[in-house]
């Protein structure tokens, strides 16, 4: 609950929500006057009751959206494709409807949107790097919503913000008619020019328009046509949020009232740093049905393993040995792709081969395998590790093979590994350049997604699914790979049947 207290007044001026958790879920019934529009500049901290669960789930939903947007934006998709990808994803994870929408609980949507935003502010205000990335993704999200907004509602929303943009008067317009006209898109008609009006703002408030030479600039002022207003709005949104984040960072230590919040906030920040939404792997029904036996692993590895697992598996084959974290990473992954416990025991026994006595295997290793399947000890059913965990926990030492090749290999070794593992990739191909570029900027999952695309004959940007999802979990990588294979087989079968028909 961002609960109203006397201190709330201070908090709102310092851009820090007052957070206290309530025990129960409060039923909605907030006046919708809090959210008159779909769009929101998030300038007033929420003062609503909220449960810990909401605190976390709303934030995670938004985090997934932002992470997704971030990874999409690193894949340089054509604008239309990017926009649809965002739209599909948003619809699923964080829908937000216009006032005209029917049969939608507008307040619930907007409340979730607002709370998620404010919780993430707390999580991401703490380092300049996090702030910058949060800001960038929030701007993209806002931009997407702005562009898809209901025109009338958007106009009302803008009016409510009361910007003080200076309107260019007719005299000035005719004085610079030629220049203003030249800056409009090539082929603009006379009537369009007459109907257009301009705002005058310091050039540095619209850097994107300046960089693209889309505005006339004179004596430090940029002349922004109404049609490019979005740049002004985004700039205002961004600079206000940026300032607010800095303030929040300064005031964060005051948020010590409820220590239950901190682990959540920490976790959120860690997830975002690794470039991923907080995601656990739960096998979807279809794939988990397909059992993999010890004998099949070799074939599945060649066709479907993501680079990290492929590396571990090749190591294991070569050295007949893996160190602890390597065994754990690969073992849980194998469980995830459908290798049952008894098959797992056969598999590992076979892999260690003669280097290990039966006695030692049974005593030391069998227990661990059973343990990871939840058959020993606490009987916890450990889930396979996500990319985020692989990327950020248990950093591999010099003798280790676990981890993520994109993050934990040197650039040369990574290249050699990719070339020798995937015939589709060679050293000087543009794909290799894409991959290494992403690695350089620490977007490991983007690099991994590119490998997925290249090795599955997919176009750049297609990713793991229709909305261009990127790799967040090794098991999702493998699942999708097997799914694609199935689809291909079915297509071939269908064709065969066609043929046999005539």
């Amino acid at each position: 609950m961002f609960k109203p207290t006397t201190r709330h007044n201070i908090a709102s001026s310092s851009h820090l929500p007052e957070v206290k958790l309530s025990k129960r879920h409060s039923t909605s019934g907030q006046p919708s006057s809090r959210w008159p529009y779909r769009l929101n500049f998030y300038e007033r901290p929420p003062t609503l009751d909220i449960t810990l669960e909401e605190f976390e789930t709303f934030a995670i939903a938004r985090l997934q959206v932002l992470s997704h947007i971030e990874s999409l934006s690193h894949r340089s998709l054509p604008y239309a494709q990017l926009s649809t990808a965002i739209a599909t994803y948003l619809k699923q994870h964080l829908p937000l409807s216009s006032n005209t929408a029917r049969n939608v609980d507008l307040d619930a949507e907007r409340r979730k949107d607002e709370i998620g935003h404010w919780v993430l502010r707390l999580a991401f205000c703490r380092s300049p790097d996090l702030r910058a990335r949060f800001l960038r993704s929030e701007i993209s999200l806002f931009r997407h919503r702005f562009e898809t907004d209901d025109v009338a509602e958007r106009a009302q929303f803008l009016r409510s913000l009361e910007f003080d943009w200076q309107l260019v008067d007719e005299t000035e317009k005719s004085q610079y008619a030629h220049e203003l006209r030249t800056c409009m898109p090539w082929g603009t008609k006379d009537e369009q020019f007459k109907a257009e009006s301009w705002f005058k703002v310091p050039w540095y408030t619209v850097p994107d328009l300046v960089g693209a030479r889309r505005v006339f600039i004179k004596a430090g002022m940029a002349y922004v046509p109404q049609s490019l207003q979005i740049s002004l709005v985004l700039q205002a949104f961004g600079s206000r949020l940026e300032k607010a984040l800095e303030l929040t960072a300064k005031n964060l230590p005051r948020l010590d009232e409820d220590e239950r919040l901190f682990p959540v906030i920490d976790h959120l920040a860690a997830s975002f740093l690794s470039g991923l939404g907080a995601s656990d792997y739960r096998p979807d029904g279809e794939t988990s049905g397909a059992v993999v036996t010890a004998d099949m692993v070799d074939d599945v590895a060649r066709k479907h393993f993501p680079p990290c697992m492929r590396n571990l598996y090749e190591r294991l084959k070569r050295d007949r040995h893996l160190k602890h974290f390597g065994r754990l990473q690969l073992g849980l992954f194998l469980k995830g792709i459908g290798l049952p416990l008894d098959e797992a025991i056969i598999f590992w026994r076979k892999m260690y081969g003669a280097t290990m006595s039966d006695d030692k295997f049974n005593k030391e290793y069998k227990y661990n395998i059973r343990h990871s399947y939840g058959q020993e000890g606490k009987r916890a059913n450990y889930p396979p590790k996500s990319c985020q965990q692989i990327l950020t926990t248990n950093q591999p030492g010099t003798q280790d093979s676990h981890g993520c090749p994109f993050r934990h290999f040197s650039p040369e070794n990574l290249q050699n590994f990719l070339i020798s593992t995937y015939p589709q990739i060679d050293r000087s191909s543009p794909e290799m350049r894409d991959i290494m570029d992403s690695v350089k900027t620490a977007h490991y999952h983007v690099a991994c997604t590119r490998v997925f695309e290249v090795t599955h004959g997919l176009k750049k940007g297609e990713g793991l699914s229709k909305d261009g999802e990127s790799v967040v979990h090794p098991n999702k990588y493998a699942d999708r790979s097997r799914e694609l294979e199935r689809e291909k087989l079915e297509a071939v079968k269908a064709k065969d049947e066609d043929v046999s028909m005539d």
Binding site: E179, W186, Y204, V210, G211, R213, I217
Partner: protein, 431 residues
């Protein structure tokens, strides 16, 4: 009997000699205006105390993250380290010298002059008079043309007032902009401005390097570029056609043909004509091109427009400023300070008046050796100085006009700064 060394014009004042540099820093470097220029106030402010200085010592040792409380501290350190040159970075969020005791991420670049760097190397593919590290009065023409266009754009388009142009000591020129707005620009804004100004793009492998007319290559030039083009038309004739004579050689005119639209009926005849007249001048060849395009005007207006635009682009490609964009984009980029001595040439990095840049001759810039010789020649009684104000050493050397130019520039910045401060005060009294 003492030998009068000071009459010996051959006294060796090699900048690689530490004693030479030490004498320069002791007697000639203009510390006071230099401090005021960076600090923009008489009392040391963050703009100075949180500012990074990086020293390059003899033997290429590089020391970063120095910062100083006062101008005297700075001077002491310069005299102690006796660097071969030094560079200036941004004002950070904390004192750079404290960086080891700061929390991670606590040292962030904040404010910094907007800077530009133009270097002759970027003109190597066009200039015909020299190559490599060489520069002469003739190739300085490229720099002069660039300075005029850039200076105009920065003032007229972007509204900046306090531009300091500084000869880089060998082959190029720097520009430092000290307006408040310029100091406050973040990296995105700097990048936007540079992208706006950057016209020549593309590697060696790309012949047409000017692509400023949108995806279809058919739009009119942005008014600011049109402005630049109009200025450059004159320089193009003088510099490219006459002085450098860029299209006389086969390599030269083939390069020209390669960036024009590839219409067989236009290019074909031109090529055969030029092949058969290997000694024709660039002016003649350009006239041929103009004639060939004129013919199109009546028959094929679309193609005519295309060629007309392409010829404008040629002018831009050969004369428009080639700026080193990376230098300008990031606040934390270090740039060599004015009044340093170029270690290779011994020339002092002196300010350049942009309105006289055409007359500027890099060969006449004083070298540290000449300056020290001038000092040696001052009669001893002068050095003792009676009750009269003792003249600063630099005032008795040819460095004088440059220091004065610098002081005037600094005075204008300070005057503006005081205006800003007064406005701020008044504003705060309103509340």
């Amino acid at each position: 009997m003492p030998i009068p060394i000071r009459d010996d014009p051959m006294v060796d004042h090699d900048p690689a000699n530490p004693q030479v540099m030490s004498a320069f820093y002791r007697r000639l470097f203009p510390y006071r205006p230099f401090f005021l220029w960076l600090n923009q106030d008489h009392v040391p402010a963050k703009l100075y105390t949180h500012r990074e200085f990086a020293f390059t010592l003899q033997g290429d040792v590089y020391i970063r993250y120095n910062s100083f409380h006062t101008s005297d501290d700075f001077k002491k350190e310069v005299l102690r380290l006796n660097p071969s040159r030094f560079e200036i970075g941004p004002q950070y969020s904390a004192r750079p010298r404290d960086r080891k005791t700061l929390a991670a991420g606590a040292l962030q670049p904040q404010r910094r002059e907007l800077v530009f760097d133009i270097d002759m190397t970027d003109y190597d593919e066009i200039r015909t008079c020299c190559s490599d590290k060489k520069i002469c009065k003739r190739c300085w023409g490229f720099i002069a043309a660039a300075v005029k266009v850039l200076d105009h754009a920065l003032r007229e388009t972007f509204g900046f007032k306090h531009l300091l142009w500084v000869y880089s000591g060998r082959r190029g020129i720097h520009c430092w902009i000290s307006d408040q707005h310029a100091l406050d620009l973040n990296d995105d804004q700097r990048k936007a401005l540079v992208t706006f100004l950057e016209v020549i793009k593309g590697s060696k492998e790309q012949s047409k390097k000017v692509n400023v007319r949108g995806a279809k290559d058919d739009a009119d030039l942005h008014p600011a570029l049109k402005d630049g083009l109009d200025q450059l038309k004159v320089d193009f004739v003088k510099l490219i056609l006459r002085d450098q004579d860029c299209f006389r050689s086969e390599r030269g005119w083939e390069a020209l043909l390669a960036i024009l639209p590839a219409d067989r009926d236009v290019i074909g005849p031109l090529r055969s004509k030029w092949q058969s007249s290997p000694t024709a001048s660039s002016e003649e060849r350009w006239a041929d091109l103009v004639d060939a395009v004129k013919v199109l005007r009546k028959g094929n207006t679309t193609l005519f427009r295309k060629y007309e635009r392409a010829m404008e682009d040629v002018i831009l490609q050969y004369t428009y400023p080639r700026i080193d964009a990376e230098v300008s984009k990031h606040r934390n980029h270090l740039l060599k300070a004015p009044f340093c001595v170029h270690p290779g040439t011994g020339r002092v990095c002196v300010p350049v008046d942009p309105s006289l840049v055409d007359e500027f001759d890099p060969d006449t810039v004083p070298t540290v050796g000449e300056l020290l010789n001038e000092l040696d020649r001052i009669p001893p009684e002068h050095v003792e100085g009676g009750t009269k104000r003792r003249a600063e050493d630099y005032e008795q050397t040819s460095l004088k006009p440059y220091v004065e130019m610098f002081e005037e520039h600094v005075a204008a910045i300070l005057k503006d700064g005081r205006g800003v401060k007064r406005a701020l005060k008044e504003e705060s009294m309103d509340f």
